[in-house]
């Protein structure tokens, strides 16, 4: 595991806790009081370095803006409108978020004269490849998310042979058009999302945070966690962070909550829990209350439940990846790859930063910019 995820507080130190109980209790007490004091007292008690760090975070967030009003400027107009009459097929997991994204994609494909199809696979690599090969036979563009290129070699070869654009949300660069030629929501997208995440954490903790980052064992989640931790390391000298992978089997269940609570209990100085996916934070508030923990909560890729907690003021912030936004980015990557004939990395995303002050609705997750479809269609020269 990369060094940024290495926990700062070593479990071996806790083996000596029996001997050093007194000092640890004092340390814990100091930590707890400083957390609440910092939050309450604002910048008045900050050191010069901490104040500078907070100012920089505020400036970054002011400059960036929390709710994007336009799509990323790196996305430039196409040379010509997309060819009409193509078929794009999304081979997806039967998970709720994937189903929702797939449905949006099917809905918006006609905007450029395409036909959208959604095919579910059962989660196994074998079934994914089977469905991909079938889709390649009757589509012009085929997409799946969550499947690494190494596990889709047959599909990649088939796409090359049949002149089909295959898109995977991989960190690895795409290879050729046709073939594996696009990575929508891929490349360093999630790592870049870590930058606003780190700045929001710095702002929320007055640059004194001990941050526990939680994620799932996927490259995208690791990249996001790395982005947050790298941002903290670069800009916040008094911040500390650690990373914990939650087993995929625990996703959506109290087993995940228990693992998170145990991590926070194990180091009472942790004052911020950052979740790289909102599913891991469902039900976390009552669990923390029960355990007597008062860490702030925030993260990325929220679900409606997270935003409801945000609306209640129970969470600090969430970096949104709305289901209403992603399909536009997927289509954009596809039309760019076909327009240029070159492999295209889809790593530009208008990430909204939701806070208790700006969250307007929780279901569906609000999309920003609000006229995202019109802005993309302008770039694509359609409509």
């Amino acid at each position: 595991m990369p060094s940024p995820r290495t926990p700062r507080t070593r479990s071996r130190q806790r083996l000596l806790a029996g001997i050093a109980a007194g000092s640890l209790i004092v340390a814990t007490g100091c930590s707890t009081s400083s957390d609440s004091d910092a939050a309450a007292a604002g910048g008045g008690e900050l050191s010069a370095a901490q104040q500078e760090c907070v100012d920089n975070a505020n400036a970054y967030l002011d400059d960036r803006g929390l709710l994007p009003e336009s799509i990323p400027e790196e996305l430039t107009p196409l040379s010509k409108p997309p060819t009409e009459g193509l078929t794009i097929t999304y081979v997806h997991l039967p998970s709720p978020s994937a189903v929702e994204t797939a449905q949006h994609l099917v809905d918006i494909a006609p905007e450029i004269g395409w036909t959208g199809k959604a095919v579910t696979y059962d989660g196994s690599v074998e079934d994914a490849n089977r469905k991909l090969l079938a889709a390649i036979d009757d589509s012009d563009v085929v997409l799946t998310l969550g499947l690494p290129p190494a596990a889709a070699q047959d599909a990649i070869r088939a796409a090359e042979e049949k002149g089909v654009l295959l898109m995977l949300d991989a960190v690895e660069p795409p290879q050729s058009v046709p073939g594996f030629g696009g990575t929508p929501l891929g490349g360093d997208l999630y790592n870049k999302m870590g930058e606003p995440g780190a700045n929001m954490v710095m702002q929320a903790t007055n640059c004194q945070g001990n941050v526990a980052v939680f994620g799932l064992p996927f490259d995208a989640m690791h990249n996001l966690a790395d982005g947050v931790q790298q941002g903290l390391e670069a800009s916040c000298e008094d911040c500390t962070s650690s990373y914990t992978d939650i087993p995929l089997s625990a996703l959506g269940s109290p087993a995940a909550t228990n693992a998170v609570v145990s991590k926070l209990q194990s180091d009472p100085s942790i004052d911020f829990a950052f979740f790289t996916t909102g599913d891991l934070a469902i039900g976390i508030e009552p669990a923390l209350k029960q355990a007597g923990l008062d860490a702030q909560i925030g993260g990325a890729i929220p679900v409606s439940q997270n935003l409801a907690a945000l609306q209640r003021g129970d969470n600090a912030f969430w970096l949104g990846v709305p289901h209403g936004t992603s399909p536009w980015l997927i289509l954009d990557t596809a039309v760019r790859a076909l327009d240029s004939g070159q492999p295209t990395v889809g790593n530009h995303y208008p990430v909204p930063v939701f806070t208790p002050d700006n969250i307007e609705s929780t279901d569906p997750i609000p999309v920003y910019p609000t006229d995202i479809g019109d802005q993309f269609k302008e770039l694509w020269q359609v409509g």
Binding site: L15, A21, P247, A250, G252, N258, S266, G292
Partner: protein, 361 residues
Amino acid sequence: MKRTIKERSVMTSPTDLPAVGTTVVDPPGVTDPGSGPRGRPAWSAGVLRLDRYSGLYLAVILAVVFSVLLPDTFGTLSNARVIAASSAIAGILTLAVAVSMAAGTFDISLAANMTFSICLLGTLLTSADLPWVLAVILTLLAGASIGAVNALIITRLGVEPIVATLGMSSVLAALSFWVADGQTILLDGVSPTFTEAGQATIATVPITVFYLAAVALVLWFLLEHTPLGRYIYAIGSNPQAAKLAGIKVLRLQSLSLMMTGALAALAGVVLTMQLGASAFGAGAPYLLPAFAATFLGATQILPGRFNVRGTIIALYLLAIAVKGLQLQFPDLPWIKDLVEGTVLIVAVSITARAIRQRRTR
């Protein structure tokens, strides 16, 4: 020597555990762990009764050790509350396993049943907009009905329990997706009393612990202090003998499977109350720990029998071990799976060994 607890019949599966029921005569040299000082195995002699209470002692030892090692994280009241509360829902499901195992059958669809109940409850509360008490009752009835269908398949159609309930798990997974559209449903619009019923505390103890205690008390009384319980154990011990003795085997096995289904649904209801949301897929992770605790529980209090007190001890022994290790090694989230899987293997091994030893005596 005339005794009331013995079983040496041919067993057809690991679930056919020796239990109370028939009056038999022991051959020379056969000892009964639960029959008094003269019948105890040599290793368990003494007031400690290690053969019955080793899990309890181990739980206390682990609690003390972890409290010394981790005084500011493990050895705190809030952590005790966390352990108690986090085990309550798993405990209800574990007792559900014990009920069917006691009757000589088993149901691995109960985690899927729990998931389905969560989805159904969420839908009844939001889409159907039913009062939560009515929604809970309907959900419990649905859980019991699933148990009844399992019973029908197992007892009437003669399908092996593992096959029948494995198939039912898949059916329930599909139904869950259909009912909830694969979504976790937020219950913001539901009466606050619903979530209070899952999140309240009584004397700082989470209310879910009281739910578990109530279920455990009822089942303990039912299984160990009523004729019905003795019949269930007799069936679990030897269904043929029980049938010859006039016990309605199929009916009682069906009843136990319905109870299992209702308890699985109850676990789902309590979890939904606790979370304030009907979390899609939340039941699945409970399956392994429930079976692990049940088998471990069969080595406690009344060794060789699936019993309520042993199950509760096993449940909290596992919870203490897992929590202590999680706090000791917070960056190893797979610790829980490792412990529960190991315990399941070891506990089943011990139980199977006990059965083999009894057969050869």
